[in-house]
Amino acid sequence: MPEMNTSSLPDLIFTILFFFMMVTTMREVTLKVKFTIPAGTELEKLEKKSVVSFIYVGPPTDNLRAQMGSSTRIQLNDRFAEAKEVMDFVAAERQGMTNQAEQIISIKADQHTQMGYITDIKEVLRKSWALRINYSATKRN
């Protein structure tokens, strides 16, 4: 019996590798807060996904409201957090980046959030030298 032809094995492996690369950058956190982001006209695309970290701000989702209440909360990765924890979050996110100077923090906040929460986050971001930020929004005409 002749040997099995394995010349295409590298291709298959590469495909699987690429698949996992894609999936890991796609990784979305389970949202624990709900938000409707504002709509704007002067928006820019977030091109390099690898340098972007998200901060979610809004009231807890309906099924978490019983435990967490309905006031505005901040979500970092998969958990609720306080504004001052943003500093550790930024540092942790920065660790894994090759071009750390390009780090962008994207703030996905609900339209009805009071600015106090956003200002607190911005102050912490300034202190942690994460100066490039992005207010996430949808396009409108």
Binding site: M1, P2, N5, S7, S8, D11, L12, F14, T15, F18, F19, M22, T25, M26, P38, G40, T41, E42, L43, E44, K45, L46, V52, I104, S106, A109, D110, Q111, H112, T113, Q114, M115, G116, I118, T119, K122, L125, R126, K127, W129, A130, L131, R132, I133, N134, Y135, S136, A137, T138, K139
Partner: protein, 193 residues
């Protein structure tokens, strides 16, 4: 038994690869890009710059989401719709009025001697209770005003819109109309002005 024909496996894997590339880049996140100021230097006492009052345009948003715009020309409550025109008028100071930002000659690469208002500051202040959406819309209008001004001058000088310029040309335009938006510590303000 002849070997299985595997010549098309590479094609199949490439198609899979392209499929994933396309599907993952489809959901592009968009947003308004801003840059925060550097953190305050603890060694420095109080770095309040002396800015002539003609060079400042105050934009304040109160907790009710109302807009208050003030420069030396006039001041008072304003609508979001008029903000863009007000900012453009302020930053441009076309007639070199004494109540709008001072202009002076600046030598910019590629543009030569220009008469610019690069000392102007747009001071944006919010209250802790200001709705985020209002703040966002104001930021959006400010950026829009600057973008329109930059487009005007870039069409005039280079014959193209700002986004189509080369990097060094963009830099020259940015020097012509620098984005000086300052966001001071938000404060509670009541009666005193």
């Amino acid at each position: 038994m002849p070997g299985l024909n595997t010549t098309s496996t590479a094609d199949i894997s490439f198609m899979l690869l392209i499929f994933f590339l396309v599907t993952t880049s489809m959901d592009t996140d968009m947003g308004l890009a801003r840059r925060l100021p550097k953190p305050p230097d603890p060694d420095q006492e109080d770095a309040t710059m002396d800015i002539k009052s003609r060079n400042i345009l105050y934009v304040r948003i109160n907790a009710a989401g109302q807009l208050w715009i003030k420069d030396e020309m006039n001041s008072g409550y304003g609508e979001l719709g008029e903000l863009r025109a007000r900012v453009k008028e302020f930053v441009k100071n076309e007639q070199n009025l004494s109540k709008l930002p001072e202009k002076h000659v600046k030598n910019i690469d590629l543009l030569g001697q220009c008469f610019v208002t690069d000392k102007h500051v747009v001071s944006l202040q919010t209250d802790r209770g200001t709705p985020y959406n209002m703040y966002f819309q104001v930021q959006n209008e400010l950026v829009a005003a600057y973008n329109e001004l930059r487009n005007e001058v870039s069409k005039q000088k280079f014959g193209r819109e700002y986004q189509y310029l080369k990097d060094e040309e963009k830099k020259a335009i940015r020097e012509y109309y620098p984005q000086n938006i300052s966001e001071a510590e938000p404060k509670k303000y009541g009666g005193d002005q």
